[in-house]
């Protein structure tokens, strides 16, 4: 997307397995929307009712291969000495920089699905809130955590 956000952009991708997780999430959400829609079909006039299952099915068939792939390609991260650089988003592209000196602590979480695929989600906490890097490979996540901890420690004296 636009050159504003590609300047010296971060280069690391999420784990390739993230696409699978997101595909499952997307498909699950579509099926759930379809079921809810069909159950609540009384709210719409007769002529509009097919939309309630047609839209989720269309989203399922067309979106499942495309959207997670798109999201995955757009998600980039990089840890530099100056800070953590994130760039992500499909409809809205967002570039975030978190200075190392502001990192308070780092958290890694692994759900059941993530554990079975050897993935992990890293959360970076600052005094203003937290930032999430989802679905990294477990090795990357562990490395990232130690790297951030080490950098934050050395920077703490200067900041």
């Amino acid at each position: 997307m636009a050159d504003v956000l590609t300047l010296d952009e971060p280069s690391r991708h999420l784990a390739p397995g993230a696409r699978l997780v997101w595909r499952l999430h997307w498909a699950g959400a579509c099926i759930a929307a379809g079921v809810v829609g069909v159950m609540a079909r009384e709210v719409l006039p007769e002529a509009w009712r097919p939309l309630l299952w047609a839209l989720p099915v269309a989203a399922l068939v067309l979106g499942t291969p495309v959207v997670p792939e798109w999201r995955w390609r757009r998600w980039r991260w990089e840890v530099r000495a100056s800070g953590i650089d994130l760039r992500r988003g499909t409809l809205q592209v967002r570039r975030t920089l978190i200075p190392m000196t502001r990192v308070q602590h780092v958290e890694t979480t692994r759900g059941v699905l993530e554990q079975s695929l050897k993935l992990a989600t890293v959360q970076i906490h600052t005094a203003a809130g937290s930032h999430t890097i989802p679905l990294l490979s477990a090795d990357d996540a562990a490395q990232l955590r130690t790297r951030i901890a080490a950098l934050a420690r050395t920077e703490a004296g200067g900041g």
Binding site: M1, A2, V4, L5, L7, S82, G83, G89, L91, Q92, V93, R94, R95, T96, L97, I98, P99, R102, T126, A127, A128, G129, H131
Partner: protein, 464 residues
């Protein structure tokens, strides 16, 4: 082992226990008094419950007082609480950031003070709270802390610059506080009540329905009365919260005193102040008055009033005020640069569309096309937001103003940020616009929408 608190702590703890148990107690009381109709026996029973409650609370207070000890050796302040399970808290003297003094109604009655021992950890209240100390005990504690951390104490002899909220400003502030937060639940409760009474024509409903106004004029009158009541309530709340408000710079810390019933002195280390917010409420903006708030890292969980640096001052005096008390963050909230002219359309578009949809749905549901006029609120709000948006980055100092209901201007050195974002939607990309967001703390994010792409990028890089 260690020293007891002043015996007035029994009363302090008893009141605290009563307050914690207040809701169930009042419920029991109300049920017992009104449950079987209001007769003499029920009243007596209620009084008996109240007496038992008060006695129980006093016993609890006495037990808590008897099992609470504090001790200061050369290096730490230690608080030991509890009877069955003992809890000990140690605060190294070198870590004490401040001794905050609090004097609630109970403490004032006995002429004692509550001391909050604050460390760098921040959080609500102090790490150690000593509920009631006599004058001699306070003096000893202060002396001890002074020998380790001289800047943690307020020095009453020194004439540091202090700003006091005048009575006139307190009154103006109270009358213009106009907190929608107070009014909305009242309105919601009323509409629910009306719904219950009108929508359900049972016997009780009909008899109560007669109490309701039935002409438009009466409805308008009732609504106006309610608004006035809510407004007075908000004014009273502001008077109680901000009476005797004074702010003072004292070396590395800011000291803020306030409160009518609960007197409190709060110490804010300047190093922890990340940003200043200049808030101009809807009613105050025409009077060119503003509230100053500070984002203090580590204090984000404390009540909002704890972050008020000064409740009300003329907008023109914001910069001189900050120059005297907080020169590290002083800046002029005026004279900001607006987003480019082509961004105006974007500011108007989204609220207009949203308001039109809502108005159309409401008009359809209620069958009155006149409600469509309410859709005009969208473009008006969008236009006001466009007018309020502005930014400046000068000599490393960032100033960003934006508006939802109140206009808020964030003033802070850019280096104080916790993180910063540059964001662009597909539509903004075509118009070569982008959003910039700079987060300074949990409740302060400077956000400016629809800047020129290159300007936004330049800002983002300069902050990096």
């Amino acid at each position: 082992v260690g020293e007891r608190l002043h015996p007035a702590a029994i009363a302090v703890y008893a009141v605290q226990a009563l307050r914690e148990g207040a809701f169930p107690l009042i419920t029991i009381l109300a049920v017992s008094v009104f449950g079987g109709g209001l007769d003499e026996r029920a009243l007596l029973r209620g009084l008996a419950f109240a007496a038992i409650g008060a006695l129980g609370a006093t016993v609890l207070g006495a037990l808590r007082w008897a099992s609470t000890r504090y001790r200061t050796d050369g290096e730490t302040i230690r608080l030991r609480r509890g009877w069955l399970s003992v809890k000990e808290t140690d605060v190294p003297l070198a870590r004490v950031q401040a001794l905050d003094v609090e004097q609630g109604p109970v403490q004032r009655l006995f002429g004692v003070r509550a001391i909050h021992v604050q460390t760098g950890g921040g959080g609500a209240g102090g790490e150690i709270v000593l509920g009631a100390l006599g004058a001699a005990q306070v003096a000893r504690l202060r002396e001890l802390v002074a020998s380790h951390r001289p800047d943690a104490l307020s020095d009453e002899r020194e004439q540091a610059p202090e700003r006091v909220l005048t009575r006139r400003m307190l009154l103006v502030g109270a009358l213009t506080s106009g907190q929608l937060g107070v009014i909305l639940p009242v309105l919601a409760a009323l509409s629910q009540m009306v719904d219950d009474l009108v929508g359900d024509p049972t016997e009780g409903g009909r008899s109560a329905g007669r109490l309701l106004p039935d002409t438009v004029a009466e409805w308008a009158l009732a609504g106006a009365g309610l608004l006035v009541a809510a407004w007075l309530l908000a004014a009273l709340g502001a008077i109680v919260a901000f009476s005797g408000f004074a702010a003072r710079r004292d070396g590395d810390v800011l000291r803020v005193r306030r409160g009518l019933v609960q007197r409190r002195e709060v110490t804010l280390p300047v190093a922890r102040v990340r940003a200043v917010r200049v808030v101009e409420g809807v009613l105050r903006r025409p009077l060119r008055l503003a509230t100053l708030r500070v984002e203090v890292v580590g204090y984000a969980k404390e009540a909002a009033a704890a972050q008020t640096l000064f409740p009300l001052l003329p907008r023109a005096e914001v910069e001189p005020f900050l120059a005297a008390l907080l020169p590290e963050l002083a800046d002029d909230p005026g004279g900001l640069e607006a987003p480019p002219a082509r961004a105006r359309r974007r500011y108007l578009l989204a609220p207009t569309a949203a308001a039109l949809v809502v108005a159309a749905l409401a008009a359809l549901a209620l069958g009155t096309p006149w409600l469509l006029i309410a859709g005009l609120a969208g473009p008006v709000h969008g236009w006001l937001r466009w007018r309020a948006a502005g930014w400046r980055l000068d000599d490393g100092r960032l100033a960003v103003s934006s508006m939802m209901l109140a206009r808020t201007t964030v003033l802070a050195p850019a280096a104080n940020r916790e993180s910063h974002d540059l964001a662009q939607t597909a539509l903004q990309r075509r118009a070569r616009l982008a959003d910039l967001e700079v987060a300074f703390g949990k409740s302060t994010t400077a956000r400016i929408r629809h800047l020129d792409r290159d300007v936004a990028r330049g800002l983002w890089l300069r902050i990096t």
